[in-house]
């Protein structure tokens, strides 16, 4: 019986020839990432709960401060200081203020064929480069940090065959929200979403990141693409080499297969308070907004900033709206500066912020108040996700978000 890409990565990490869904294996981890959302708790457990505190291999670890940066109160500052001090003491790669953790990982670390644990649910992004990235809690992270290993229940894979091309003005984010709307918030619970087909081959690494990143919103353990020439070119530009390049075998077994015609996808929005409550964007036009957010590990890269800047150039943000533009990393920010995009946003009246998670996680900059409405390129629209429990979050593409910032109501670009 053949294996899928995900199964091959797990088999290699487990040091066995073959794995099948449902098996539990001990695996060697290639890399572990942790951010300021939980690392202070990990450090406390390291010092207070372990009989023999140790680190298997500091070179495999990356610590990234991205959730509440710069710190907004003394307790946050203390949590981040704990993380910073620990990283320095143990020679762990440490990033602060340079961008959202997953963007930094993709730009600097992730290699095809790797098995990566991240203490953040959107670690599934790394499948865009043919790596198996999955989100874990701080106890799993600590165990991996101490032993270099973990346990993995081999997930089933679900195949998404993408056919054709998205129409102009429709983006991978519309595609992925449409898929989540169809299969539901637990549509691929504990499974791998493997994207393939002719329509997948023409997607850029950014596009693939958009799809993989949101796979957790359908419950998936990860999303993954085959590392093809496009992925290897991205890697080579950054001076990295694959650990291994895997393709799914022709006789690999999938739990289900879907075929998706990209040419019929239209702009969509996920309504509050569930990511799978997805409707055509045109049905929601006219809903008043208080804030718009262009950013996040899902949709804050140069491609989306170009889309937004193209729409808002020469126009103004509505008086009633705060429009937050947050490049996903310093690399993205500098590129946007070079291309004049930051000037365009600033002249429109947008608030351009430092690279970080921002209002996507709802506990730092841009938090919204009672009954306020946000339209966002962030990852989630759960109740109170962006601030007050009565506030509402709509998720749309960079184009829909920017067009809405100009009019002050949900608007199609």
């Amino acid at each position: 019986m053949g294996m899928t890409i995900a199964e091959k990565i797990i088999a290699a990490a487990a040091g066995v020839d073959h794995v099948k869904p449902g098996d539990i294996h001990t695996v060697n981890l290639d890399r572990l990432m942790s951010n300021d959302g939980t690392t202070h708790l990990t450090v406390d457990m390291y010092h207070n709960k372990l009989t023999k505190p140790r680190i298997a291999d500091p070179d495999k670890l990356v610590f990234i401060v991205d959730h509440n940066v710069p710190a907004d109160n003394p307790k946050t500052a203390a949590a981040q200081k704990k993380m910073r001090d620990f990283a320095r003491e143990h020679q762990i790669d440490f990033w602060e203020g340079k961008g959202v953790c997953h963007q930094i990982m993709m730009e600097n670390y992730v290699c095809p064929g790797e098995l990566i644990f991240g203490a953040d649910s959107h670690t599934c992004t790394y499948g865009a480069l043919g790596a198996f990235g999955t989100g874990v809690g701080c106890t799993d992270f600590l165990y991996g940090m101490v032993t270099g290993t973990s346990w993995v229940l081999v997930p089933e894979s679900v195949k998404f065959n993408l056919e054709g091309k998205l129409p102009d003005g429709v983006y991978p984010r519309d595609l992925m929200l449409t898929i989540i709307g169809q299969i539901g918030a637990n549509g691929c619970n504990y499974q791998v979403m493997e994207f393939g087909g002719e329509g997948a081959k023409i997607l850029s690494v950014n596009d693939r990141m958009v799809l993989c990143n949101l796979s957790v919103e359908a419950g998936a353990k990860t999303g993954i693409f085959e590392a093809d020439e496009i992925a290897l070119e991205y890697l080579e530009e950054r001076g990295r080499k694959p650990k291994a390049v895997y393709k799914s075998d022709p006789d690999a077994v999938y739990a289900r297969e879907y075929t998706i015609d990209l040419s019929v996808i239209e702009p969509v929005i996920a309504r509050p308070d569930f990511v799978d409550d997805v409707v055509p964007a045109k049905e929601l036009c006219g809903i008043k907004i208080d804030e718009a957010f262009l950013g996040s590990c899902n949709n804050g890269r140069i491609e989306e900033l170009r889309i937004g800047a193209g729409i808002i150039k020469g126009k103004k943000v509505a008086d009633s709206v705060r429009f937050l533009v947050v490049p996903a990393s310093l690399e993205v920010y500098k590129q946007a500066l070079k291309e004049g995009l930051i000037d365009i946003f600033m002249e429109s009246g947008a608030i351009v912020m430092n690279p970080n998670c921002s209002v996507c996680w709802g506990s730092c900059q841009g938090v919204i108040g009672e009954n306020e409405v946000l339209i966002s390129t962030g990852t989630r629209n759960f109740k109170g996700r962006a601030g007050h429990p009565s506030s509402k979050v709509y998720l749309g593409s960079a184009a829909t978000v920017t067009a809405s910032a100009i009019t002050g109501e949900i608007t199609l670009a």
């Binding site: 539990i24 300021d36 959302g37 939980t38 202070h40 708790l41 406390d44 457990m45 709960k49 372990l50 009989t51 023999k52 959730h67 509440n68 307790k75 946050t76 203390a78 949590a79 981040q80 203490a119 953040d120 649910s121 670690t123 989100g135 874990v136 809690g137 701080c138 106890t139 799993d140 600590l142 165990y143 101490v146 032993t147 346990w151 229940l153 918030a185 637990n186 619970n189 504990y190 957790v216 919103e217 419950g219 353990k221 569930f274 799978d276 996680w361 709802g362 506990s363 938090v367 989630r380 759960f382 109740k383 109170g384 996700r385 429990p389």
Partner: protein, 159 residues
């Protein structure tokens, strides 16, 4: 068999509702736990007693990987979480910290907040309102982690 009160929550209950983002960087679970379920039931931390149960429907604990979510439930003394299904990260985190997570397809439809239930982990059954409900057994590997009090406790034993 220990009995406790049920606190019931909705389908696709996400971890943001269990503990909001703004509390995650507080120093420890003791400071965080007073905000548990703040958006849905702000009095939950005062009402819940050690040995009580949280019951959910499908996809309980979806969303963020924040381990603080099962962490605050355990810190408040919640005995176990019972749901029709769990989101995978919450499920794994709960086992890793030694908080029992029980898959039971029928019970959630037949109970409400305030009902009393009993759980026998070893028999894999839940009793409520005079009825017995079968639960799905954990794979042995995960049951062992739970039995040892969580992943770190099991690591310390190996060490």
């Amino acid at each position: 068999m220990p009995s406790g009160a049920i606190f019931k929550f909705h389908n696709d209950l996400d971890t943001d509702q269990i503990i909001g983002s703004q509390y995650l960087l507080l120093p420890d679970l003791e400071e965080m736990k007073i905000y548990t379920f703040e958006s849905l039931d702000p009095d939950f931390p005062k009402k819940v007693k050690a040995g009580d149960y949280v019951v959910g429907e499908e996809n309980f604990g979806c969303g963020s990987s924040r381990e603080q979510a099962p962490g605050v439930l355990k810190a408040l003394g919640v005995e176990a979480v019972i749901a029709k299904s769990f989101a995978r990260i919450f499920f794994r985190n709960a086992i890793n910290i030694g908080l029992p997570v029980i898959v039971c397809k029928e019970l959630p439809d037949e109970v409400n907040t305030g009902d009393v239930m009993e759980l026998s982990l070893s028999d894999g059954v839940v009793r409520a309102k005079g009825k017995e409900y079968a639960c799905t057994k954990l794979p042995e590997y995960m049951q062992n982690i739970l039995n040892q009090g969580g992943l770190i406790a099991s690591l310390n034993k190996e060490d």
